[in-house]
Symmetry: D2
Subunit: 305 residues, 4 copies
């Protein structure tokens, strides 16, 4: 794994047959779809990966299977966030054994805790991790927005970078400003729309859920951002905006984005659209909308995606 | 288990030696302390029980051990809330096997979900539960405040009652009003201070964290509330308020109440004060405050508690 | 004005013909309705009084008229909260000239400010007030929940008491605990449901919107609370709860309580139901519900209210 | 006034000698500073203009004076937002009389209200406005985030555009998407950092507080955004970011940006740094920081600003 890690790292959705069983064929398809799309890494067991909804056995099976399929063609990062400390450690060990490149950690998310407690938690956790680690900020789910000072402290513990899904562009700029003298520390946005701004301002890429669907779209947007090619950026960004205005919005439920992505992948024939409870797949009418939208996308993107 | 369940049901703190090991002796002491204090039931693996911080193995061991110790002397309720559906089901099965009386369910707490999704989740879950169940509302931790309509729907699925830890007295009154014609449906407050009002208004009792420390204080306050003895209520409530102004406030961290309770139990010689990450025990200065406070409590309560 | 002020102080709704004109006849009726109902004071230009929706001219006219009508039969308090410092000072002067007994101040409510800024603001304001003053905590409208420490500092500037409309019972108890050694400092709840608990715990009464409708109901509930007569408290509180379940809930809009109160007063023939924009009166169907509810109330309360 | 209005419209800070008196000389200086800096319009009595802290007399004086000084050299917009309906109408009339070009309206901000009530309020208000109007979305201060549907409805009442200060880039993109077929409807961001993205995506400019200090910096950034000159955008945006990392952050109070801007203008010798309560000027140490920062800015910007 070359540092700093950069580019497009899709947060893999987890293809499932039911809440207790992987859709292995779908997993194979999806990973080949991403790698042939040119992604720069893969992140499993994040929010889009429904990690907290899967029990340990299933998560470990996913880690093992994904490592085998990816087979070091791109860096593989594994989310090990859990409310149970020993659960996290156990997943880290499994990741190491299976041959993953790094783990990703967010704060435990049941108890309300403060910055000091997050730092102290990570101090204990990172000491026993067998792999390099990245930090993950997602306050909408964990109830805590890690301050830049907290991130600095976790970087001192060895963090190789951060994925920020706060949707707060000032925070993102503060991170970039704070770590601009640390060339090996990666700053990824989890907000796809912020990808060009992140990269042109000195950040490193995006952990983009939509890249599950259109990996090449995001890879090109990343490359255009690196090249500061404003016409291409504008043109590709408009396509990304279309995802926001269509796929991501079809379900009105709070976690509708993940549900929209899985449905689209199913319509594309890539993997199953089953989601583990409490999430659930789109209904028939919503799926019809996805089919309609996807057709328009394919028409307008034609061969180029 | 006689319906409706009523009285004082302490949410048992989980005595631990470390994040991976029960403090068995402490568990024995604590349970005897509660039963001899006259409690009307015991609830394990709730928020005060640090359930989400314990891995499945440890949770199952706790279920088994507690069932053995309690040995049907009082009803035993087990929290099975988990972000993983299969994890919840598994804990329910373990509870049944071990001989527990009922399980307690709160919404899964990682993904933001809406009322409709909570209902749908519980519809699926409750169909496979081998034991009666109670509902648990704790929006500060789960990010969702179940509406009265949602509670009505879950009651229709068979819920025997609800523990409300929202701290919202209007909500509590709405629950009581809504279910007053359902004599077997229990309404417990998770806010100790609301115990008298809950009971005098038609509710059934409290799941009171402080009852880990002073079970008899809460049992008496319950009895005084049932008897509508206002002088006794006022006198005992003042003592409960002292807990708020002392033990619950010594730690300034967001989950300081649980930390204060465990420290007090440790000072009383009942069980260990270890808390699993991300929580942590009080520091030396804070513990000294607990010692000081406890002495004053003991002096003022003398033999009667 | 005898200190500490205590009992039932209705926050007078402002009878209006339109946004620019008082309903003078309604104002007379309403004040006589309250005084004959036994209230212990009257508070004008609070939230229920729609103060921020009225321009200065109208507010001053209301002050003058109310002072004349009340004519020192009960203490009269005037809300002078405004986003403009000079506006507040001006209203205080008008209150003094007209013969009011005290003014009531909440933080200015447009800019987000912190505790330190609230304290500093009140330090400047209170130095130029020509009348004694009470503090008013209503974070849902002002965006700031004054801490107990802030209240202590404002008390040192001379505050004679506080009305707390936070709906936070722990905060209320903390206030009572903090000021129990200051016998002249009044603690009023703005949450009607908390009246008995406030009084039995050492507080002084309620600024109860519902007392506009049923002054005697609240006065009796206050008296029963002082006398610690639990049967009477329970019986009267049930009637207050009915207001919550009916009048206060008929409109689903966020400020529906004030709208429900004004509509009820109009149905009772006491004053006009016009509300200044952005609030508005209930629609025809909602008014019909109020009529229905009121009839049931009158039947069940008969002569006694 | 040519439609759509576009470019940089600084929200003028209000130069004050004290809470009751304009700093007329400062007002003259500041306006000349802005106009010579090339701004495309001026917006008075917004949030940076401390409108709610000024009483009506002072607001009207400011309207009159500003109109005289600006003298139609650039379009002049006047904020008339107020909690009192008649207050707003009155300010609109004064704006018209004084010769302003348009007024700006945000929802009244004391009572919590919902989207339906905002629409209904604006329906009543806009019917009596003597001037064209723009909408202003600032949920951090008004407690309501107007939905895109609400904005559509207010556009149908005649709104010429919107200033969005929500800081929510998705919302901004939704506005642009929604109104792209309405070429005369202006979309301004109130978040300076979003200026390039707003303009390159189809929006019209920024109401940028920092343009009080460096009008030409923002005008150039606007022009570079129109020209899609990515190098210039990147270079100028870095300078804007410096404002965020310095001037805007020196005060830790919630409204510290306005305080930082006024202090900087005072250090530059343009106008007084007095702010009306509840805001307040920076302290001595903070002012020293501003001086230091400003020197570095001037050095690095040299003649070009």
């Amino acid at each position: 794994m070359h540092l700093p890690l950069k580019g497009i790292i899709p947060p893999l959705v987890t293809p499932l047959e039911n809440y207790d069983k992987l859709d292995i064929q779908g997993l194979n398809h999806l990973i080949e779809h991403l790698i042939s799309g040119g992604v720069h890494g893969i992140f499993i067991l994040g929010t889009n990966g429904e990690a907290p909804s899967l029990d340990y056995r299933l998560r470990k099976e996913l880690i093992k299977r994904t490592c085998e399929i990816v087979n070091h063609r791109v860096p593989l990062l594994v989310g090990i966030t859990d409310t149970s400390f020993s659960g996290s450690v156990d997943l880290a060990k499994a990741s190491n054994l299976a041959g993953a490149d790094a783990v990703v950690i967010a704060p435990p998310f049941y108890f309300p805790i403060d910055q000091e407690e997050v730092i102290s938690y990570f101090k204990t956790l990172t000491q026993v991790l067998p792999l390099p680690f990245y930090l993950y900020n997602i306050p909408s789910h964990t109830k805590i927005h890690m301050t830049v000072d907290t991130v600095k402290k976790v970087k001192e513990m060895g963090a190789l970078g951060i994925k920020d899904s706060s949707g707060d562009m000032f925070y993102l700029h503060s991170l970039i400003e704070t770590f601009k003298s640390c060339p090996e520390f990666s700053i990824f946005t989890g907000t796809e729309l912020f990808l060009p701004e992140t990269v042109t301002s000195g950040g490193h890429g995006a952990v983009a859920g939509g890249a599950n669907i259109f990996p090449r779209l995001f890879v090109r947007l990343y490359e255009a951002s690196v090249a500061q090619n404003i016409e291409t950026i504008a043109c590709l960004k408009e396509k990304v905006m279309k995802l926001y205005h269509t796929v991501y919005k079809i379900s009105k439920h709070p976690s509708g984005i993940t549900m929209g992505i899985k449905c689209t992948l199913s319509v594309m024939g890539i993997c199953n659209d089953y989601l583990a409870p409490p999430l659930h797949n789109l209904n028939q009418a919503e799926r019809a909308q996805v089919e309609h939208v996807l057709k328009k996308f394919t028409d307008s993107f034609n061969v180029s995606l």
